[in-house]
């Protein structure tokens, strides 16, 4: 099983060679600067979409999305103990696939009781059915000092590959910036999309400077952006980029930022998942194109 192999690895460089990505995914791979780990630019979020409880019909539906995601190259699947039954759903889907090597298992620790962190991580591993995570993050910076100590300890022991922090909805950016400056985290996850670009001012430049990979959550603002933009004209640049629709253009915009290797859209539909994955293929907007996309969006 993949995850037992990873658990045994202690050298970061060796641990993140991950040849599976290169051999199965046609899209360009992104690199986590601190370790050299490579993974596809489009991951898979699980907030709301995979929280289906014990519903056998919906579990099967989610498993199909996970299977299609793996078939299209895999990459980061992100969850949290806060997301209801999403971890169990992912575990269900991965078990059916025999725990494919191309999944970059990403979860969070989310408890205000600092000493409960290790037990919660154990529960999360059990829910996923994996022996180790590729990335664990402090969710919304809750009890971040204690949890970072736990996660860095796990990393030092070779039980964890990457340590990260998360925030969303543009909250707690000042604290996030401070922790990014003071601690050697590998990743930060924050909300970044065409409508939420506050991170461009300080956090994304800081991430580049410090070699921290940024993961974009809420790329579609939980579907609100594509809904609001439906029927609105795409900018001229979309044709040059081969983007047929707003969701693809929104994702191309996000993953074209040099500090931002991965976006994690969530979906319950296989077709949408494939459409999201396709956004990483073909050309991405350069700086001038990004400016034109922003200007067009502002004018709508």
């Amino acid at each position: 099983m993949l995850f037992s192999r990873r658990t045994l690895l202690t050298g970061a460089a060796a641990a993140f060679a991950l040849p599976g990505f290169a051999s199965t995914d046609a899209s360009p791979l992104r690199t986590i600067p601190s370790t050299g780990a490579k993974l596809p630019a489009i991951g898979l979020g699980s907030w709301i979409t995979f929280n289906v409880g014990t519903d056998p019909v919906l579990l099967e539906s989610c498993a199909k999305v996970i299977a299609a995601f793996v078939e299209d190259g895999g990459g980061m699947i992100d969850s949290s103990p806060m997301y209801g039954s999403s971890q169990d759903t992912i575990g269900y889907g991965l078990e059916k696939l025999g725990y494919p090597e191309t999944v970059f298992a990403t979860d969070k620790v989310w408890t205000s009781a600092a000493d409960h962190g290790p037990a919660q991580i154990t529960e999360s591993r059990a829910a996923w059915g994996v022996e180790a995570f590729d990335l664990l993050q402090v969710h919304n910076l809750v009890s971040w000092e204690a949890h970072l100590e736990t996660l860095f300890g796990m990393k030092d022991d070779g039980r964890l590959a990457h340590v990260g922090l998360t925030t969303s909805h543009g909250r707690r950016h000042r604290l996030l910036e401070q922790v990014m400056r003071d601690y050697p985290v590998d990743t930060v996850q924050l909300t970044y999309n065409l409508a939420d670009r506050e991170a461009e001012d300080r956090l994304l430049p800081l991430a580049r400077e410090k070699g921290i990979a940024v993961i974009a959550n809420r790329p579609f603002r939980r579907g609100a952006l594509p809904r609001a933009l439906k029927g609105r004209p795409l900018p001229d640049v979309a044709q040059e980029l081969g983007a047929d629709n707003w969701p693809q253009l929104l994702l191309k915009f996000i993953i074209s930022h040099p500090a931002l290797p991965v976006a994690i859209p969530a979906t319950t539909k296989v077709a949408h998942m494939r459409e999201n994955k396709a956004a990483a293929t073909g050309p991405l907007p350069d700086a001038d194109m990004r400016r034109r996309i922003i200007a067009h969006f502002r004018d709508l």
Partner: protein, 225 residues
Amino acid sequence: MRDMFTYELSDLMLFSERVYWRLFDLENTALWPMPLLAPLALLTALGLHAWRPKAGLRAICGLLALAWLSVGWNFILQRYAPVNWMMTYVGPAFMLQAIAFAFLAVRGRAMGRNPGPERMTGYGIILAATLAYPGLALWQGRTMASAEIVGIAPDPTAFASLGVAFLVSGRWHRLAVLALPCVWLGQSALTLYALNGPAAMAPALGLGLGLVGLILLGKRYANPG
């Protein structure tokens, strides 16, 4: 363009509307034929109340005690909590409400025949919870398979409980059957507003009725006689 987005209550939702309604579908299937028997039992108890109020009220309270116990355990803790971790903390409150109804069922002292208008209001609320509430599924474009049924689903059970407040007498007895159902219906209205605006109307109406009951209760006992 940026201004068209504002912070929404839906940002706090951890599950989708589809998942929420599927819970009732699964619960009705799992407990069949209880979705048929539970409303029938409550209607029978209501009929008994019209004939012999004291025995009828004992029966209604006894049935609602079982209903809160069953909904708390089967629906809230087993079905709903996996998608909404906050329900883990709500389940015990349903058990407490079950105890309150069980207490009312065995305590006859405060079970006199209330004045006609109050009694009729109580009957109306219980009948609406039992007969009309399941039909909301059709109004909302769902099938009856996912209907919310008294004794199986929390909202109609809380709604029916409000009706009992108009059948019992005694300040604390009324408070005991109004407080928690009002809180539940309030949170349910917020949840459904976030998931699907129009669906929030039913629990919001229930909350309104409950608050009216509380106000009337306050006035009556503030100005006895």
